[in-house]
Symmetry: D2
Subunit: 446 residues, 4 copies
């Protein structure tokens, strides 16, 4: 007998209901009953979903995040709402406020960063405000005025502290900074890390909400994650010293493409709202440099993007969603871009014949690294589908954007708004009622 089918209005209503349910007042938790902490790129994606519902609330989300920005410009990857421990690794592990000169004394934050998708959130706020009352438009513009310098400082920090060699690629000192914690992209780099004896003992907490531990990183992996933090702490999270001491140093092509795109978005906003010409020039220059850096990483006629392992001094070759970085920011010659699009559409990714929905899995199903239920080693992440669909719209590919949107919405009709999904069966995995999944749906259905 017929499967119950959810209507678009009901899907939108449930997504909004979820997002408000995860609302903690000035921040939105990633999922229900999770620790009341804010993740940097979660906050940006959540803001994208809040914008059609309430410009006021969307502005608050970004304000909360930016209030925790470090004085060097870094937006930390976690803002701890209330300083208390409980989440691991929490403030007591990071000790950022204590050890890092640039960290704010309050709120407590982690000591690393995450992908710079925040300009997108700002763009969505401003765009939605255009259709609202004068008062709401003014509120959005005041937000932009208030935060413009913070956003510039954030981008400037990425363009300088995180590209010390000026290669047009963002260097990460921890896999977590990529947002794709256990992606196969980092396997070789992590394999070379020797955990020091001085790593304190610890108790993981990420497994408690997940029934199946094979969907999460292993203990050996986790030790290395924490060891890297120890290294950071040993130099007081100093930008200059990190580039020297960290065992993990990788130029992340996906983050770099996001950054190039975000610089363009911010420059566009700056032009629209009459921000200083020097800022806009800087943003355009960074966009150009990082677009060039992304393209320089690409291999072969199909323009596959690669990360670069600074420590091992070699390119990293894996078949993951990051291969498609240049599709986000552009810059590839036409023929190579077309080839890369064919790869995206083809049987190694969205066109794999066994996929339930034609959306990009985090790792290619034909890769030896592929694990269909393990976090970033295979599952489909709706927020990534959204990112590509949004970026394709900006690239001038409305049909591609629409197709990803339609497939993403078909997947969402399952109803649990999961963090990620098994690509073949469509089974929801990870946290349910995930804020950014709901946010993606709300933007799509707007």
């Amino acid at each position: 007998m017929g499967q119950y089918r959810i209507s678009s209005t009901q899907l939108a209503a449930r997504a909004a209901y979820l997002l408000r349910g995860n609302d903690l007042g000035t921040m939105t938790s990633a999922a229900p009953r999770l620790y009341p902490h804010m993740w940097s790129w979660d906050a940006a994606f959540v803001t994208v979903g809040l914008a059609p519902l309430s410009i006021e609330r969307a502005v608050i989300e970004m304000d909360t995040l930016l209030s925790a920005q470090w004085s060097n410009g870094m937006i930390p990857h976690i803002v701890f709402a209330n300083g208390r421990d409980g989440y691991f690794p929490g403030p007591a592990w990071w000790r950022a406020g204590e050890l890092a000169a640039a960290a704010p004394s309050s709120p407590a934050t982690s000591g690393i960063t995450q992908p710079p998708v925040h300009a997108i959130a700002v763009q969505r706020i401003l765009e939605h405000s255009r259709h609202r009352s004068r008062a709401v438009r003014q509120l959005a513009e005041e937000f932009l005025d208030r935060r413009w310098n913070d956003l510039m400082q954030w981008h400037r920090w990425l363009a300088t502290a995180r590209d010390p060699r000026g290669r047009g690629r963002i260097t990460l000192y921890h896999g977590w900074e990529s947002g794709m914690d256990n992606s196969p992209r980092w396997d070789s780099a992590y394999a070379n890390i020797v955990v020091g004896d001085s790593l304190p003992s610890y108790q993981r907490e990420d497994l408690e909400h997940i029934g199946d531990p094979t969907m999460r990183p292993s203990t050996a992996e986790y030790d290395r994650y924490l060891w890297l933090v120890e290294q950071m702490k040993s130099v007081g999270y100093d930008d200059q010293k990190l580039s020297e001491v960290m065992d993990f140093a990788i130029e992340d092509v996906f983050v770099s493409a996001i950054f190039a795109m975000a610089c363009d978005v911010l420059a566009y906003i700056g032009e629209d709202y009459a921000k200083p010409l020097s800022d806009i020039r800087d943003l355009r220059a960074w966009a150009h440099r990082f677009r060039t850096g992304v393209v320089a990483s690409c291999r072969g006629p199909s323009g596959i993007a690669r990360d670069f392992d600074v420590r091992a001094d070699r390119w990293i070759e894996t078949e993951t969603i990051a291969m498609f970085a240049p599709l986000l920011c552009g810059g590839l010659p036409r023929d190579r871009e077309r080839a890369l699009l064919r790869l995206f559409d083809g049987p190694r990714f969205c066109g794999h014949p066994d996929l339930r929905y034609a959306v990009p899995p985090s790792t290619s199903p034909v890769s030896a690294d592929f694990r269909p239920r393990e976090y970033w080693r295979g599952p489909v992440w709706p927020v990534m589908t959204w990112l590509f669909s949004w970026a394709f719209g900006r690239r001038g590919w409305p049909e591609r954007s629409k197709r990803l949107r339609e497939e993403g919405l078909r997947q969402a009709e399952e109803g649990s708004f999961a963090e990620y999904y098994e690509p073949f069966t469509g089974e929801p995995l990870g946290s349910m009622q995930q804020s950014w999944t709901a946010a993606a749906v709300l933007d799509w259905l707007d």
Copy 2:
């Protein structure tokens, strides 16, 4: 230039966002920043809106309300969440727990009741659960099993304690019990009430959230409202004694029609879920008695329903939405029903040429009592539009139901989900972000 137009998905999303935003955990406040208290018929309408979003949460709303039911069966019109004062008249004024034998010691409640629309809420829970997983269906059925006797007791109390003369009409001892606090229907009865010297001094709070006091009852009116409570307190809210001592005693034809309809709905549910036959027989008998009572109140060829003032021993003639009571419960001969429908559609109500939307105003625009901005003296109440649209669907009038729904949605696109609206201009009035207005929209857009 073009007015911004909200899509159906966005309207649904905002309604859901609002409803979750007013969620206090186990109850939903009527509007943001209002006191955390629960009103009886608000709770039922809110449940109608929650059902498509979360059966679990909808069940909690009704459980919270029913947990405050009096031992005589009455569902009190206010459940005070935490016993604290602040709202006026609050627990300290009512002193129900202290004075009334039937009142629960906790939570604190008021000492009067409100219209019995709760069976509708139960029906919506069960209906939506049919399309969900087995676990959700079971949760809904367990709710029904758990609360069936409470619902029966509630209806039995209405059919006995509130119809002491067995006329098939519910007697109210306070205008507030009608839910239509300052309707012209009560003017003559209130005019006959002499406020005793013993009325304690008090401080109103209903004016604080409303800029324009002319939209709310006057002080003289308010004195009488409170005096009636004093009378109730003087007899310990005893059902028997109330019928003797109260200066205000009116057989409310609208509440009676709602009750007849609710008995039918509950009987239908009882049949579907195999509840005791004796209960179903009682419900059908009550439905019949009150339908007959409503019809008996009707005057003239167009079947206009009237309230009866027990103290003055005469019918009350006003042109308000309550005239249409028999359209809710049925029972009029065909020709009179058709005439009443024509009145509903015609220039005295929905068809008045100056109305912005073709929905019924609380008082006829051609009545001398009409005030376009004063609460129940003229404004359009979306929750009433919903009630008629829902009832018309059950009466076998799908086109009429659809038309009210469409007009109600057009009105809602204004975006503030107001408590009530000016009928000619569409200006939102009263509280904004009203829970039951959002609930109506969610049911319509499901």
Copy 3:
């Protein structure tokens, strides 16, 4: 990979495109490239679909049909557009104009009738016209004025000539008159018919458009179909004589229920548009008589409706969609109606666990007569789903109406707008691009 999913707007667009594509100017062919003839109940259902698109065109469809009405009141089951042969049995076989005193000389028609669903079409025209310009409303009202007497005469003929014994059930003299040509309901009656030697030889044409002949009636069946026509011709299609000579004479409970419902609909319209009171009284009386006749046919606690074989003088027991006749017209006591609804929802019909969509198959899948691909012996007919969903709305069951609509639309998304569907697989069967299937979709999506 993901199945392509059609949006509501695209589904509506394709249905409208189809309907206009089958438009022959003043009539709509049942499906593309079929003979340009009009079937009586097809025309009515098509009008339901035309009404939201063009009141003007909808009126023309009904005018074309009614222009072929016989002088005794009968609406013939086929109007031959241009008198030419080609379709079999065509005008040359029927010879109605020549043999029947009541038949018009032009256009050529068949000599039998079909179910009286036309009042529904008239209701849809009037209802839609209410939302249109004054000119369009006037056009619809002029149509009603022009055709009221024809409609009355049509109903009067059914109530008299076709209920000669006054039992409140319509007698059919040919299975084709039921619209359900090869339903198991007629098997026993046809089995008793002995084809006379005088049956001329003939050439079928119904098999040409259908690849699989097992989906259509057999030759032996077809001989009997034609023999009955010979019997009719032998008495000049005279109403009185038919009741005496015809070997096939069955009181069809489904047609009777449709008639009762149609009388109510027409009476309601008559009241709204101030038609003669005597007409309305007649309609109400017929509605009452036929509702009573339907209920009288019902067997057992679950109120299963039965046809009556006049010649064999016994009730016909088959498990087909016609069992649910009283759900259309009402009249069953509550408990039996509830039991019948449970049967409709249960595993013998819509709730059969293997059904692709929860819509009623023409014959119960658990019946020995069930054939999943044979016309009225099992397949799902979208137009029947529509009829029940529409009737349930009028019965005051909005949720049931909505559920059938949703399942019917899910089925329609397959995209071929087939005449009927295999119930388990959803395979489209019979003619594709069927007008009345598109009409049902258009009414649902309005």
Copy 4:
């Protein structure tokens, strides 16, 4: 009382119903009851609307048009379906088959051309076919294979015969070739044309379907239109000679921008479907040349595009929708493009405070040339709104594209699918039930 509001499904249904109603079998008439002739760019836009309804039918539309292509590559602006006269100027006036060596002997055609939007239609056919069955995809691909050379020849003719000086701008020899017959853009050029004595007398027919002649060109204008045709006939429509003898020779910047865009679209298709590399190179080169030619025409910091009058040897300065040509094809430096977008959004065009909908009028309301009801001198043309919304999507401006779509749909809800609209009142003007207006709506609602 409330204005009736049309739903998206009903709007889509009516648009599809209209398009099929205007279907003449192998061509779609521009509006009901117009002559059965095909206009070149109408056919392309109609194909855009047919593609979501029926790939098969969309292909037929383009095939019909391309079957009338001249041997030199020109797609004529009218294909006369049956050679018969009636429309003026018809085949007997043009005498193309007789006088032009390149014209086909059948069907009869006019002797001029229209804007090259056909690659868009081809793209829509291919895009929609991707979501359909294998058979439909194959049909679309076979169409492309069959017509690729014709499309190449069409573009090659434009790039050579119509850019004799290699300036990257298409030269028109008649205002009708622009599709914007009476635009103020042509006023100065027409003013210089002296109608010769040899102009035969004639009878206009364009006024018959339009009640108000002020919405159409004047007689003096019309004389010049026809005189230009006489000039063409005098040289047998020879491409080379036209460039020498024609009194009217203008480099049309809007057509040039469309051509640059169409070359890009066709190149993209060629790459996708493995067409000859030499063709793709040619297309890219033409796109580049014409984009450069458009940009070269632009004046001032806001990049306003201008037409060039070859005979008068000067730029034409008018404030019409053609000013925004570079927004279609790109190529302007960023700052000038931003300025041009501000002009598009601002009070001289879409942001004019009195506009009913925020869509571009054909001529600026602040221009002295503006006439709100005169064809291309002011009214809003939905098909132009569609063209910009489509082009903005390709330019990577999804929000702008969405806004135009939403405003265009709001305008369409009026329901008459008019050819053009009064910009301030929204009054529908010109033909009603216009095919390309319906096509725009269908693409938007897909």
